[in-house]
Symmetry: C2
Subunit: 346 residues, 2 copies
């Protein structure tokens, strides 16, 4: 017996839902209740149904292709966060039937030119922007031309990011450092210091504010100022700041990055050999795991899903004011580790 | 005066070459002598000529789109090498007029299905494969269907990789560890040890062989066996191996990875506080730079250019037996660093 090739209609009949519901499961899964979605997906899987991407594009006039600028490898310990976003976006895009096309550009103006080229050459459906700032030429151009886009990171150096009309998702740095500070206090350390960056930046200020918020009530403003140091975002910078704060009475440290935390960690280890260094970093980079350093892990997979959901909602003509939230701050989670024992000579 | 829009013909006249030469500079630059290419490129730049990718695709019937599977972030200290390849490929592809499309897949069989989908949906021109091995279903499928592809990494676990008909580029691990070993010997260390992986792997054996080759003549086989240890690819593994080899008389260490080297480095620092640890890692990861660890840097940008050149030659119908080399082993370069001083308590 030849098995008939399944269609949207035969699948809908098999599950007992409408053809539109099956189509939504494939194209706009966020519109379908989870229970129904699971039943339809199971039926699709059992039937061997395979939607043709080309057919879908003809039907929807979408290329199902999203573009993203791949910035030069940032280097440094924290440079891997955007790479992790890229991995997560590739998977989230694919789960929703999109492809991801990469391009490079030397600056924002050049990125606009690349976006024009890609729209012309490959009819991309939308773009994922990173590093968006006030007066960003990419935002102006995309808005002017009605091209869908979503941002990783709030627009920096501008007015209230919650007031901009375009979607973004970002990591709530203040919530992260506040949680790390509370964790260290709850673990019995009274004087928790903070190591931030010398360079001004919105994420840097935010990470410091979270620490300060979690320390208010415990120390006077004057005492708090003593427990704060700033350094270049390097391992040496972290070591030097840790030395200073140790002298000033800090018992534990929350750091704005894993590079700073690694330096603080190494310094405390050699300065106070008998004691486990109480240090928390930020970004949960591979080196944090390698040396057993506690760190704040940004919810990259969740951020990537949000970006794809927002774009997918817009691209499928979903109604304004409905669909996923336009501006979303995600709390990092604290990964607590035990420092690795690298042994002493026998 | 309205300036006329430049064309291939007007550009050719301006430079004094044929129209075909200008076209080659844009589409098959490897066919044009460097001096001519530079003159044409300068004329193109001055004229503001901008080839339309869509027009080029219509003319050449190519999508100018290459696919690559983005594997899940490997994690660990060395996990960033494929991400660095991705950055380099994006730039190299763009320089040659290609785009790069990413996809994910759970295994090689699923990757074949994704490749089929992408050829159907987006008419990709070719693919970049990583992790190719003997009996690889992706290689079989692509060869059978005449789809161009190039590999990063030699095919593993099979017959002579130089005998396979498809192109690959890889890092010469043995040349790297041999150079590191010679460097340490030339720096005055007689007994250079090697820390490898417990797990069998072709890159692991190769890295050990390079060390052994550079040590032959200096030590007897028995003495050499004493200077070699194996460990899990972790920081603790490296620390434990360093402890063992130090006891056996090793004065300096070449390690198969930066994770191992970081552990060896930290152990030697605490075990022999007065002496700078003489350790060389492999892959030149961000953490090596952060802590001032010498390491072998794989020539990723060169590898990416080679992959794009090989694919571009094939896609432009370049003659077999000409064009870039089909199988290319690239030597890593040794990056010598001074260990960072993280300070001692005052």
């Amino acid at each position: 017996m030849v098995r008939k090739k399944p269609t949207l209609v035969s699948l809908a009949e098999a599950v007992g839902v409408s053809r539109q519901t099956v189509s939504n499961v494939l194209n706009n899964p966020e519109r379908v209740k989870a229970a129904t979605r699971d039943r339809v997906l199971q039926a699709i899987e059992e039937s061997g149904y395979r939607p043709s991407a080309a057919a879908r594009q003809l039907r929807t006039r979408r290329s199902m292709d999203l573009g993203m600028r791949l910035r030069p490898a940032a280097g440094g310990i924290s440079g891997s966060v955007l790479d992790r976003l890229l991995h997560a976006l590739t998977e989230a895009a694919q789960d929703s039937g999109y492809r991801l096309t990469l391009y490079s550009a030397g600056d924002d103006g050049e990125e606009v030119a690349r976006i024009e080229d890609l729209l012309h050459a490959a009819d991309l459906d939308g773009f994922v922007l990173t590093g968006v700032h006030s007066g960003d030429p990419r935002v102006d151009w995309l808005q002017e031309h009605g091209v869908p886009f979503a941002c990783f990171g709030r627009p920096a150096n501008g007015p209230d990011p919650f007031a901009v009309p375009y979607p973004w998702v970002d990591v709530d740095g203040a919530a992260g450092t506040a949680a790390a500070t509370r964790f260290l206090r709850d673990s019995g350390y009274a004087a928790v210091g903070f190591v931030g960056w010398t360079a001004d930046s919105a994420p840097g200020e935010e990470r410091r504010d979270g620490w300060r918020r979690a320390m208010s009530g415990y120390q006077s403003a004057g005492e708090l100022a003593e427990l704060q140091a700033e350094a270049e975002d390097t391992v040496e910078g972290g070591a030097g700041a840790a030395r200073l704060l140790l002298e000033r009475g800090a018992e534990a440290l929350v750091c704005a990055s894993d590079a700073l935390a690694l330096g603080a960690f190494a310094y405390l280890r050699s300065a106070v050999p008998g004691r486990i260094p109480a240090v928390v970093g930020f970004d949960d980079t591979p080196v944090a795991e390698a040396v057993g350093l506690s760190s704040l892990s940004p919810p990259i997979a969740r951020a990537a899903r949000q970006i794809i959901e927002v774009l997918s909602h817009r691209l499928s003509g979903g109604p304004e004011g409905q669909g996923p939230r336009r501006h979303l701050l995600l709390e990092p989670s604290l990964v607590v580790r035990t420092p690795r024992d690298l042994g002493r000579p026998s």
